[in-house]
Every structure is written in structure tokens, then in C-alpha cells.
Symmetry: C3
Subunit: 209 residues, 3 copies
């Protein structure tokens, strides 16, 4: 039961991140198979690092469906870029936020199943969510999304805390997942829409170099 | 028997990539031990990631000959840069192509030995071939070779398909390897020499940002 | 006994690197949780890669104290940046050098305990010391410290050789550690203070591209 949810969510998360990678590859004028490489790294990177850290078999080596999902999403994205009217940049942000929210949950769950404590599980959720996109941005020589002023890692952590809270309240499993997804996506997109910016350092302070 | 071929090919692949890393380090004015670091990462990075993904012991920790091969190649490269007339950039491309072709085969083989299916094995071959050079380019703040318009990942995949085809036709082992090597190197160098450029997106289209 | 030293040194090493990551995050105008991400990657990256390479359980998953140490160091750094007078860039260099020296020893020790030879152990020490900072610099889009002309990897290797020499001379355990720490920090800071620059390639030579 849980494993079914897992696979289903995971296939979607992988596809969302693969689309975001293919879109960025296109914007950066990467062509040919390079697009497949950057999309695959985006889609599979975060989960791969999670599995390595938990010393588990890598998810896409064990279950090649994830690979098919990533490759299929790339092909569809390339075809739709080729034959459909141009998409706005908003789709990239949306895909990235959805992937972030899903992978966050999957990282937390897999860590809890392996018997880690909550602080390690939340760290693992952030790792799963953030690292695929981080690798994408590093390879494409972009300023990583997580390093910009918007609430990226914060959205991820909030989703994790929402999941933990609902779980502690014995909410039904589907509610935990749904609550966490909504929280992450809402905070991430809200920060972009309303321009929320955190400022943990003193205002107007510049470091002496 | 197979293991001997493996070690032999691997030592050469490691040496080729180490040379390519040292050459790029030199071009980027990296000096001192930084050159050894970038060359080692280039030479050992792809295979290390492959072994991590297959949850196998890391090849150079188990068989330190690979380490000696990498370090030896760096020393020879530094000495030849120091005492011989300057080499053209062509050597860098050649070393990189040879390493790519060899590591591609080794990744596919090791995955098949571990009992994965063909799509995972081809992915593992591309990972082994591409990631060493990708890490080199990211560390040196270059546009990764795989992200440029030339046929890099495509050459890698073609070599893998050639290997799979020859293997399926029951060709002798040495022929499988040779056929794959030739295919990868030919497509890679051919793309540079004749300026083959893939274009999987529509021509002349620029994304709306 | 040894395990106690290990944990104690490790917690300090993690904290030092976390501070260096938070300082760089601040200088790069990263804000919100992005600072926590870059500081954690810096603090935990090198040791994580070492544990992956040795196919050991990841240290901070097994012993979450390291996580608390990293997160605590980030919070303290952010608070001190916020409320104390600005620190000079010297603190960044100092923290980085101390972390480098400690992680170098820990990498060598853990490899030797796992029964590797000395050349693999020294490589593992350099990996542990260098990779956290390397990831920090790559994510923050800085020229990696190890790639600049200063003695970074060389300091690391010298500390490793000092450790190996003292160990071979049957020096007391604390002396081995202390000797190695002093060597690494001295060479690293000395290279910056007195401007030592290695030049392993011929002087005044520029590569033909």
C-alpha cells in the first residue's frame, strides 16, 4: 500500500524534475543528448544522493520504471517545445516546485522507514528535494535556485514540518502527503508571487572583506 | 580473462582522463597540487560514481593500481608540459575521447555483470564516461563538454549501442570492445572535424522567458 | 579511547567548516535557509564522500551529533554576524584551514582503520579535507580555493605525511594529531602570509590553444 503511493508519487516527481531540467537545458541552448543528461541528473540526482546516504540500493537501478519516466518526460518535453507554442518560464517554476514538494516527502519517508530520527529525516527530505535542482543549476552554470533570496529551502523545510505535524496527529496517510505538498508548493510559489524575502542577517549590512 | 581485459583497459582509461585533467588544469593556470586534484577527480570520478550507484566497492580503493596510474599520468603530463615543446589543444580532445570510449564500455560491462537490464547498463556506461569530465569542467568553471553542441553524450550512447549489437551477434569479446571504441571515438572526433551539430529543438526558435 | 578523540575532533571540524560555509554564504548575499544548506554541505560534504568511498555508513546519519554541531555553528555564526561588529575575511581563512587540518587526519585514520594502504589513506585524507570546501566554492560559484595558486592541497598532503611519519616513529597518539594539525595549518596560512606560490610548470610558459 505505502509502496504503491511511493512508486506513484516518485514517478511523478521524477517526471516533473526531468521536465524542469529539459526546459532549462533548452533555455541554455544545450542540444542533442546533453539535454537528456541534464534532465536525468535533475530527475534522479536528489533521490540517488538520498539512497547513497542511507546506504540503500539506488532507486532507479532497482526499479527501472523511474528511468523510463525520466526519459519519457524528456522526450515529451522536447516534442512539445518543438511543436507547441512557446511556454512561459512559469512552467519551469511550477514543475520545479512540484518536484521539490514530492521529493521532500519521499526523502523523509524513506529515512523514517530506515529508522533514523526526525532531524536526520528532515535533512534527508531537504537533500532529496534540493540536490537534483542544485546539480542542474551547477551543471548549467546558473545561480542555484536554493541560493537566491526566495524561500526555496524554507519551503522544503516547512513541507517537512507539516508532514511531521500531521503524522504526529495521526492524520490519514493521504492527508499527511497532501498537507505537505500544499505547504511546500504554496510557500514556494507565494514567495515568488508576493515577493517574500527572508533576511536573517542584519538589514543593510555589507561584509568587510 | 575478462578481468584482465578490464584492468588493462581501465588503467589506460584512467591515465587518458588524468592527462586530460592535467592539461585543462594547466590551461586554467591551476598550479601545485591543485593539478593533481583536478586530474584525479577527472580520472576516477566517473568510475567512482558508477561503483556507488551499483553499491560495489570503489575500484581504486580495492585496486590501488588505478591510483598509481592516475598519479603517474599526472607526473608524466606535468614533466612533458615542462620540458617538451607545447602541445596543441588537439591532444586534450583526443585524450578525452579515448577515456570516454573506454569508460563507456567499462560502465556497461560492470552493470551487466551485476545483472542489471540493458537500459540501466547503457545509462551506467554514459555515467561512467561522462561524469569524470563533467566534474573536471564544473570544478574548472568551464562550460561542460557534454553541454556544448557537439556530439558528446551521443557518441557515448552510440558506442554503447554498438557494443550491445556486437554482443547480441555473438561477436568475439575483443571485437565488441574494439567496435565500441571505434564508434565512440569516430563520432566524437567526427563531430568536431566535420562540424556535425544535432538540433532536436525547432530551428531558429528562442524560448520566451 | 580513539573513538572519543575522533568524535571530539570531528565535531570541531564540522563546526569550523560550517562557520566557513556560513561566512561565504553571507558574503555571497545568500539568505534564509540557503545559508544553512551551503554551510551543511561544506561541513558534511568531505566526510560524506569519504564514507561513501569506504562503503561505510555515513557519519552524520549514524551519529546525529555531527548534524547538531553543524546546525548549531550556523546559528551562532548568523547571530554573531547580526549582532557583533563585522569580522574580517581572516576568520574565514582560519576556519577553513582548521577544518582542512582536522578532516585530513580523520580521513586518513578512518581509511587506515578500514585496512587500506597508505597511498589510499592519504588520498582519502585529502578527499575528506578538500571536498567540503570544494562543494562550497562550486555551489557559490567561486574559484575553488584548491584551484588557486596557494598551497591548499599541498598543505593537506604535508599534514598527512607528518601524521604518517610521527605514526611510523611510534609517537604518542595525541602528538601525531597535533603534529599533523600544526603542519597543515602552518603551511596553509604561511602560504597566504608570505605569498608562497608553487610553480610546477615551466615559468612564463603559456599554453598554445
Amino acid at each position: 500500500m505505502t509502496a504503491d503511493y511511493f512508486l506513484f508519487l516518485g514517478l511523478f516527481g521524477v517526471a516533473f524534475f526531468a521536465v524542469s531540467g529539459a526546459l532549462m537545458g533548452h533555455e541554455k541552448s544545450i542540444n542533442g543528448f546533453g539535454v537528456v543528461v541534464v534532465a536525468s541528473v535533475t530527475a534522479l540526482g536528489g533521490g540517488t544522493i538520498r539512497d547513497l546516504l542511507l546506504t540503500q540500493p539506488i532507486f532507479w537501478v532497482e526499479t527501472p520504471s523511474y528511468l523510463y519516466s525520466a526519459y519519457g518526460a524528456v522526450v515529451l518535453t522536447v516534442l512539445s517545445i518543438r511543436y507547441l507554442p512557446p511556454l512561459s518560464n512559469y512552467y519551469f517554476i511550477l514543475m520545479d516546485a512540484a518536484g521539490l514538494a514530492i521529493f521532500n516527502i519521499m526523502g523523509i519517508e524513506k529515512a523514517l522507514i530506515e529508522g533514523t530520527g526526525m532531524i536526520v529525516a528532515l535533512t534527508m527530505g531537504m537533500t532529496t528535494g534540493i540536490f537534483g535542482g542544485l546539480l542542474r543549476d551547477v551543471i548549467c552554470r546558473e545561480v542555484p535556485l536554493v541560493m537566491r533570496g526566495d524561500l526555496y529551502a524554507t519551503a522544503c523545510l516547512s513541507g517537512g514540518l507539516a508532514y511531521a505535524a500531521l503524522f504526529a496527529l495521526d492524520a490519514p496517510y493521504a492527508w499527511c502527503i497532501f498537507g505537505s505538498l500544499i505547504t511546500t508548493v504554496f510557500i514556494r510559489l507565494g514567495s515568488l508571487h508576493w515577493g517574500w524575502k527572508p533576511n536573517i542577517f542584519k538589514k543593510g549590512y555589507t561584509p568587510k572583506s
